[in-house]
């Protein structure tokens, strides 16, 4: 179970407070987001002392390098806490990585499909969190040019459901034969 940190340690690679100040250096052209970015990535992290938070902080630079076409917005701890207070059902699920699909947003606004999110805080071990983060980064990179992102995600979730069913049956069979 994740415990609340009495005082949030200074993150090693995710300098949250510095990046929400106005007047920052504009994003550079080479390897950084352009106007044509497909995604906008938001990180909401209120600072729970959790494995997921540590994994995110330790791998943030790599995520940034993998997603250099898209802007990443990191909410400060204070702003994240305010955010969680307004949306209480999300408490304990953070760090949350929300990705807006700008193509979908331009078409239909926020009323319909407009992106996807990963509630990394629900993964309790460092291994699970790292695997989740890696799968998420892979998904972003491989679906950047997807014509129908929503269909891709829903198909993926259905596939996961089927894989899960097979897994359950296999586990049951393995138990039956005493493996």
């Amino acid at each position: 179970m994740a415990r609340a940190a009495p005082k949030s340690p200074k993150p090693a690679t995710l300098p949250e407070s510095s990046i929400t100040q106005p007047g920052l250096v504009p994003i550079e052209k080479n390897g950084e987001p352009s106007a044509a970015s497909r995604f906008r990535i938001f990180i909401v992290d209120s600072g729970w002392n959790s494995a997921a938070r540590r994994v995110l902080h330790e791998n943030f630079a790599l995520i940034r390098d993998l997603q250099r076409e898209d802007p990443i917005y990191v909410l400060s701890r204070e702003r994240s806490i305010e955010f969680m207070r307004r949306h209480g059902s999300r408490i304990g699920r953070d760090p949350i990585i929300a990705v807006h699909d700008m193509q979908a947003l331009e078409k239909g606004g926020t009323a319909g499909f407009h992106g996807f999110r990963l509630s990394l805080g629900l993964l309790h071990t460092p291994e699970q969190a790292l695997l989740g983060l890696q799968a998420f980064a892979r998904f972003l990179v491989t679906h950047r040019n997807s014509a129908d992102l929503e269909a891709d995600i829903r198909a993926g979730l259905r596939r996961e459901g089927l894989t899960g069913a097979i897994e359950i049956v296999m586990q049951h069979e393995a138990r039956e034969i005493g493996m």
Partner: protein, 68 residues
């Protein structure tokens, strides 16, 4: 008599196994949905909030230079 009883037990056990399978698949689907899912109309208010933070300039994109 014994055959019938055996059959009935088999049917009950089969039904229980099927029910467990359905329950487990549903549980995993819900867990996966909690973990990773699409943003739709349910999250419209949250997304709108994030968008307005960007549009108002409250949120600036991360850049390496800003860290330095």
């Amino acid at each position: 008599m014994l055959d019938r009883f055996g059959e009935a037990i088999s049917v009950v056990l089969g039904a229980l196994a099927l029910a467990y399978l359905v329950y487990e698949i549903d549980r995993r689907k819900r867990r996966l949905r909690d973990l990773f899912h699409v943003l739709g109309s349910e999250e419209a208010d949250i997304s709108g909030e994030l968008l307005s933070m960007v549009e108002s300039g409250e949120l600036q994109p991360y850049s390496r230079e800003a860290r330095a």
